[in-house]
């Protein structure tokens, strides 16, 4: 298994008046990590959309918020795969601040065509995500 790691900093835009990162913004962080993980595997979502009309969509997710991130923190998103089938990938994405786990998410990703209907994951996508499965 090769976990993908993506580092980011927390900016003003990410915080809210409670002084911590707004809960929806962790979904932005983990989506950035998915895009970078795909790019690192040679998968260009713009090309996929233009070529085949295929886009990614999140079908379901669950998030456990354990501790808050704050302005200027440097965070790492760690992404692995829990399951990859023809039509869906289940990813585990964790947001860490150094060695403290702040947020843990499970994200089910599918592919859709221009008509909005589900499509099989393109083979290179399956291969890329499959490489993030445990025990490989």
């Amino acid at each position: 298994m090769t976990a993908h790691r993506f580092e980011l900093r927390v900016y003003y835009e990410d915080t809210d008046f409670a002084g911590i990162v707004y809960y929806a913004n962790y979904l932005k962080f983990i989506e950035r990590a998915r895009t970078e993980a795909l790019l690192a595997a040679g998968i260009d979502q713009v090309a996929l959309e233009r070529g085949q009309g295929t886009v990614f969509a999140v079908r379901a997710l669950s998030v456990d918020y354990r501790a808050p991130a704050r302005f200027q923190d440097v965070l790492t998103v760690r992404t692995t795969a829990a399951a990859v089938t023809a039509a869906r990938a289940r990813l585990i994405q964790e947001v860490w601040r150094t060695d403290e786990l702040l947020v843990a998410a499970e994200v089910d990703v599918v592919c859709l065509g221009r008509d909005g209907r589900p499509r099989r994951l393109p083979e290179p996508v399956r291969a890329a995500l499959g490489g993030m499965l445990p025990g490989l």
Copy 2:
């Protein structure tokens, strides 16, 4: 039970290059609905924060994305409570477009003090959320 209903429109800011609402933005929609539900019950989060140093935080959530919302859609967020204890409320929040359920979320809300530690839900908050339980 009194379900709370909150209506909103989808704007440019909410969409992404796939032409649909970006998945993180539904969390904004349902948070707006929570703020409005509290306000409708006479609970002012600014006063709570200034008076007692109490803020709300989401501890966990799960989301089922069934169908996408699009630019200019008018959506309704329907909020009810599934469970309310001294320290936590579990809310069910659904995003509808007319009679089509687009997104269903389960959200666990807690209260934190200025030190970031969990606090009991203030009594008026428990009463307000308790009024959204089924069977009442």
Copy 3:
């Protein structure tokens, strides 16, 4: 002249760790107001995009931030036109909290085709925006 008025509330998502509305988010507020002003004039941006491939884009803007808005504030965006030509409209958009002017913006809007090139404003758009000019 008919100024367009659009009311909104400030939510958690709009604030930042300084406790006030994040400066970029006023651009969201005034864009919502533009969309609502167009809809009120019968102009549906989704139909424009699908039918003619025409989208709106902001070409330039200037913003004067006079006083901050805060969480839960109810704000009104007041929109008028300063100039409307074949290719461009200059709008004046002000964000008020009751009778206090918080933010004043001047926004130059153009239309683009699917190729990203400038297009003349569609006639109904010119008429709608022209109706917001002073002295009419």
Copy 4:
């Protein structure tokens, strides 16, 4: 003069249904660059806020949108200072894609105290921003 350069990638969250970066999001990009420029000069905004109750605020800005950025683009924000006085700094911030200037902004930054009133720029901030003036 030392211009500060900050690189970022465009993600899903930054785009809108027109397929390009939403106009408000460039303000996020240039704010990230300001935070990084301050950090590079040893200025920690969290420490400033906690120690002296000083926060930064944008007082005015103007933006020229020349060409759109798109999903997955790598952009560079180039920041210099045009003027720095006791109470205010005028920054020039440009967003480039390789050697194409996409967006040019002029941003007036001030400092505010906890009471929301203007304050002199802290001396280290003046020094840091002064080092980004032309001709130095």
